[in-house]
Symmetry: C2
Subunit: 731 residues, 2 copies
């Protein structure tokens, strides 16, 4: 076998081990294994302490469900990103006191306000390997049966765990079916807002600066978790008392500088770094380019459908923004994966693993399973064009999506709630109702027809083996038939009326399924295809759950033979990443330093949102009123900093800690060059963007003073008690 | 008197002298005066050699009229920017061989093609102080008489100088009337194109990268100057022979690095750095902001006038682009001058000078003249709103401008050509005809009326003292009258027809002046105002020519008392600037290194103009086929570099030289942060952008080979004789 690499790929492979060693979203339990590398990078604590979720500092790191946060006082004070608390801030805003604009500062605990009935702080307190239990019944099975056995065992383990009140439990799949862990989280339900800077600080730069460096956002907010007087989780009540966490992070008062050790803990959502080379190639060579091309075509279809109709343009503005965003992100990911030569790199890793595996005793079964897994993956690829188009029929329409949801719900309602398809359970019905209502503001018949005309033309152009009989039954097999079908469906349907959609939502399932509305009939036909594809998917998912562990054993075995540990792909469980404060060379002749300063706020300030720095902030900068938080090297106040820590969605709000585990910042974003990192960590380009804890302290000491919280965190007040304009005094 | 400064201004004032010493567009004759500073910066030659325009290297630096160039061989080979030679390249392009796309490479001198009858190479060979002669007759006069006496003496000196055939002469005013120099230039008229890279190299990045760093343009082209067989300047003839210059620059073969000494010679057009603090304040506080506001209003007027009329939108596309460009540039200049706190800085300099002057003996007359100059400047400011609006009436319209030009030309044609107002002489008539024809494609009545409605509403809002009686006579004094006048003028005029405009251009002046066309009548009335304002302007210009020298004496005298030399503002005469290869920190946390590399070409390449790098270039980069031109530190091929040299418009094509006077690059642009440098050189932000001579050499050795030119310049061929695709082989 002959392997070919571009120079970029070879350069990436030849990078010094020290640079690569920083990559990784490690399970806390793995940290003792990588102790040498961590110490080499500058870590000064004992990794064994980090591996125990029930002890500090790990037990201080909590999930908000989607975001990460951490306890910073013994009285349940929690710090997270401003953008993670946006809903709570909005909820408590009134026309008289818009907290988004003014910020919020509870003078005493009694002034703290509820973050809402859905707000949660989840404290992970158990993380237990239960692989044998989960796989016991699956062994010997294949396909859909294997999938169902794993699912049933997982549900049973969760139910048993949640039998004890106050906990939320889940089963986490590590290394794609190789290992299963039971995760238990204490579910705190009375969460209150304690402090938020104005939005013009918390999201300074907003969408324009999103993914950008240099950055100047004060993206932090403080919550406090409360429990019932008995110390157990409870819904909001005035009688509740602050939760007393087992651990909280100490906020550092030391300066930061380029090269300093940094680490981060949090709940990253999903990565794909252990996917096969064939999946990498599919992503780079087909998924992303075809997504870009299809989004472009759908944008053109929306434009055609709304040409000369200002009302339709307004109705589709959100969808157009969504299509553009999907397109931009896909293009960015594609550019990044190409720049990193990710496919060639993965092929090389796989080839090296295969060669190693060939020399191992008793590896025949592993090799056979890997080959079988590759087969299943190749098989899925055979229908990728069909799958992409079919998903768009419901995904990018309003009335047709509504009809399909109504038919699916009618079907699912015939099952016990626990047996319903996720997305169609009781708890999802409010969301479905909201979507059916929203369609009223987001629908124009000519645009929906233009979108479907585009999608159906593409469907007709598919090879015969990929064409969907149900789609052909509804929309015909040539352009004229499609046009006639669309005209008939959309002129005769009553679904354009909100009351009719809501009537069907409330109607008896049998009535829905028997509906004479032509669009409801079309949806019933299309539902048959949807169910068939889902069934095929689950069978394939089962096979991959059975076979991928062989691939992972090969990869992990080869890495171990070289003394390297392997972290599992992100799956919303608690992970630790370590690295350092790092500059970035994003392009030829351009260099970004890793610390931004308040001077950049003034440079960007235009007075117009999102660059409308509040007057108290500008005044404090002009006074150079920095006190103890001034950076000794730069002689000014820092704002954000850049590290090479390994992050992805879900890491928002993650505490960034120094070599001794003290809080030095909060993660809140990545750079655009790193948008492809969910597949490939390229140390040349992957950076994470953090709020400097010194900026938080400065804002709370000198700009919108909260001396009570500084005191609670044991931080120096730094003359913060001097009379200053209060946060609520406006901008 | 109490002076107040912002911190930025104080920081600028406190900059180390070493950084400030680099500022300056020095007359070659001043260089011996600043020898210590130049040597301190790293210059290794004798500044006295640079001060003699008849000797190398200065005699090698030539003007193309608008651009700068330099001789680089004893056979009249000239190097300048690709963008300076764009007209010549276009002129020689055919449908079969588009030189813009393909580039051009004359295999032998016989293959060189004419750059056109208007192309010039101007070799400055005399630069003589004639202040006494110019001012002899002016002394004792004031105002308009002073102006006319200086103008008459200048014209006489030029006529006497040009009596010798083959020369173009001019009188250069240094320090605003303080000193006058006679400049004599040999006028070479047979200029031929020898070598040009494809446009996709020569202007890689084009408008998108304009003013931007990092930059990746191969902005160079070679001309050759020819003379008659007698060695004298002559128009193109096949019998002509290459001009043998007295001097030519040696091209360096040494590497470049940050911090290296660099100097540049050329013909910078115009700067305003010695203007008074009041003029600085007027620029920052009124001229630029009001220009931004007015351009914005005119853009809105064009939009109103062309709403729903696609044809009108097309007709005004060029004007809209022009308005936007003017707005963007004014905003950039304004931002820059504010960032540099230019007004406070200039006020400080003036206050220090005044204080010094107060302590000088016999300075009473100087002080009185300075006070009188300030009066004249303040007086001009009293009508600035009127002057800005009046200039727009002709400046931003098509038919009205045409009518005003026809009336003015009819008036001027009554004078001997030399006595006509510049812009209305015989040589200008072809340009006026072209503009009258062009109006056909750029005019829509509704848009012109919308523009005039906007301008006239603003005129009506002026204080009474600024309102123009002639404007009121034509357009009335209230909105209704203006609207009625516009309707009448534009519905009854025949000028919308091209043939009528051209008929009037050819007609007898008396007939034009008596024209019954309402727009021609309006123009005749407005012309009276125009002439009156011009007369006032000239009287004021005469007074300032008389009085400003006192201000300059104060500034120069104070500087001398501190051991500092003062360079005159740029006026298209030969100047020298020295400094070093310099990085730039344009914004918080962003740093630009001073050398770009071919890797940046690949990064920017999209395949779509202006980022469509030609295949031979991409192939040579992929081969890493750099040879002797590789940068030893970076290990790759450099493209452009950045210095802190002092440049402005007119410096395009200027040779950049090393400490020993050898050519290391060509100047071709500035950075956007320096757009305000024509008023204020801020060493933190002012940079100049150059093509690295090593990139030129590499392109000519390895990409589009021209071994004959490398040999002629005495450069190593570097295996360039190896078979390579020729330039004309396409991309």
């Amino acid at each position: 076998m002959r392997l070919c690499f571009t120079t970029a790929a070879i350069a990436a492979l030849l990078l010094p081990a020290a640079a690569l060693a920083d990559e990784g979203m490690w399970l806390p339990s793995q940290l003792p294994e990588i102790e040498t590398a961590m110490r080499g990078a500058g870590f000064q604590g004992d990794p064994a302490n980090l591996s125990d979720l029930s002890r500090p500092p790990m037990s201080a790191v909590v999930s908000l469900g989607g975001c990460t946060a951490s306890f910073v006082s013994p009285q349940g004070l929690v710090v997270t990103n401003h953008h993670c608390a946006h809903g709570a801030i909005q909820l408590n805003s009134t026309p008289e006191n818009n907290l988004i604009v003014n910020g919020f500062n509870a003078a005493t605990m009694a002034d703290e306000v509820s973050a809402g009935p859905g707000a949660r702080v989840l404290v992970t307190d158990r993380f237990e390997r239960i692989t044998d239990r989960i796989l016991a019944d699956a062994r010997g099975k294949t396909g859909r049966a294997y999938h169902d056995a794993v699912e049933a065992a997982s549900k049973a383990a969760v139910a048993e765990c949640e039998a004890e009140p106050g906990y939320r439990c889940s089963v986490a799949d590590m290394y794609y079916g190789t290992d299963f862990h039971l995760v238990r989280q204490l579910e705190l339900k009375d969460i209150r807002l304690a402090y938020a800077p104005p939005d013009a600080i918390g999201s300074y730069g907003d969408e324009i600066d999103n993914f950008m460096w240099p950055r100047h956002s004060g993206d932090f907010t403080f919550y406090r978790a409360y429990v019932g007087p008995d110390g157990l989780p409870a819904a909001y009540s005035p009688d509740n008392v602050p939760y007393r966490p087992a651990a909280w992070l100490e906020v550092s008062t030391d300066p930061l500088a380029e090269g300093d050790f940094a680490m981060l803990a949090g709940y990253p959502g999903r990565t794909f770094r252990h996917r096969t080379a064939a999946e990498f190639a599919d992503q780079v060579e087909w998924q992303l380019p075809s997504r870009v091309e299809l989004m472009d075509a759908l944008l053109a279809a929306v434009e055609r459908g709304s040409a000369g109709d200002a009302d339709a343009e307004v109705r589709y503005a959100a969808q157009v923004a969504g299509l553009k965003n999907t397109l931009k992100r896909a293009q960015g990911e594609l550019d990044g994966l190409r720049r990193s030569d990710a496919v060639a790199g993965r092929r090389h890793e796989e080839a090296v693993m295969s060669e190693w595996l060939a020399g191992q005793p008793d590896a025949a079964a592993t090799r056979a399973d890997i080959a079988a897994a590759q087969e299943v993956i190749a098989e899925a690829r055979a229908t990728r064009e069909r799958d992409q188009l079919f998903a768009m029929l419901g995904g990018r329409t309003q009335l047709l999506r509504g009809a399909m949801q109504l038919q699916r719900l009618a079907l699912e309602r015939g099952k016990p709630d626990a047996g319903r398809e996720p997305g169609y359970q009781l708890r999802d019905e409010a969301r479905i109702e909201a979507a059916l209502k929203q369609a009223q503001r987001r629908y124009a018949p000519a645009v929906e027809r233009a979108i479907l005309t585009e999608l159906l033309a593409r469907h007709r152009a598919l090879p015969a083996a990929q064409r969907v009989p149900e789609v052909e039954a509804v929309f015909g097999t040539d352009a004229a038939a499609t046009e006639a079908a669309l005209v008939a469906l959309y002129s005769d349907t009553a679904l354009a009326a909100e009351e009719e959609r809501l009537r069907l939502l409330a109607a008896d399932p049998a009535e829905v399924q028997a509906s004479a509305d032509p669009l409801m009939g079309a949806a019933a036909t299309l539902l048959q295809a949807e169910l068939r594809f889902e069934d095929e998917d689950k069978a394939r998912a089962g096979e991959l759950l059975r076979l991928r562990p062989a691939y992972m054993r090969g990869m992990i075995g080869h890495a171990r033979s070289q003394g390297r540990a392997v972290y599992p792909d992100a799956n919303s469980t608690l992970r630790v990443s370590y690295g350092r404060i790092s500059s970035l060379q994003p392009r030829d002749a351009v260099s970004w330093s890793p610390l931004t300063t308040v001077e950049g706020i003034v440079e960007k300030h235009t007075g117009v949102d999102p660059f409308d720095a509040p007057a108290p902030l500008l005044a404090a900068i002009a006074r150079r009123d920095f006190g103890a938080t001034v950076d000794p090297g730069l002689g000014t106040q820092t704002v954000n900093f850049l590290t090479n820590l390994d992050t992805t969605g879900g890491n928002s709000g993650s505490p960034v800690m120094d070599a001794r585990g003290r809080l030095v910042g909060l993660n809140f974003d990545s750079n655009w060059e790193a948008v492809s990192a969910s597949w490939k960590f390229d140390p040349r380009y992957k950076r994470a963007i953090h709020v400097d804890a010194r900026y938080m302290r400065w804002i709370m000491a000198r700009v919108y003073p909260a001396p009570q919280l500084l005191r609670e965190m044991g931080l120096p007040l730094d003359q913060a008690d001097r009379q200053r304009p209060a946060a609520a005094a406006g901008r």
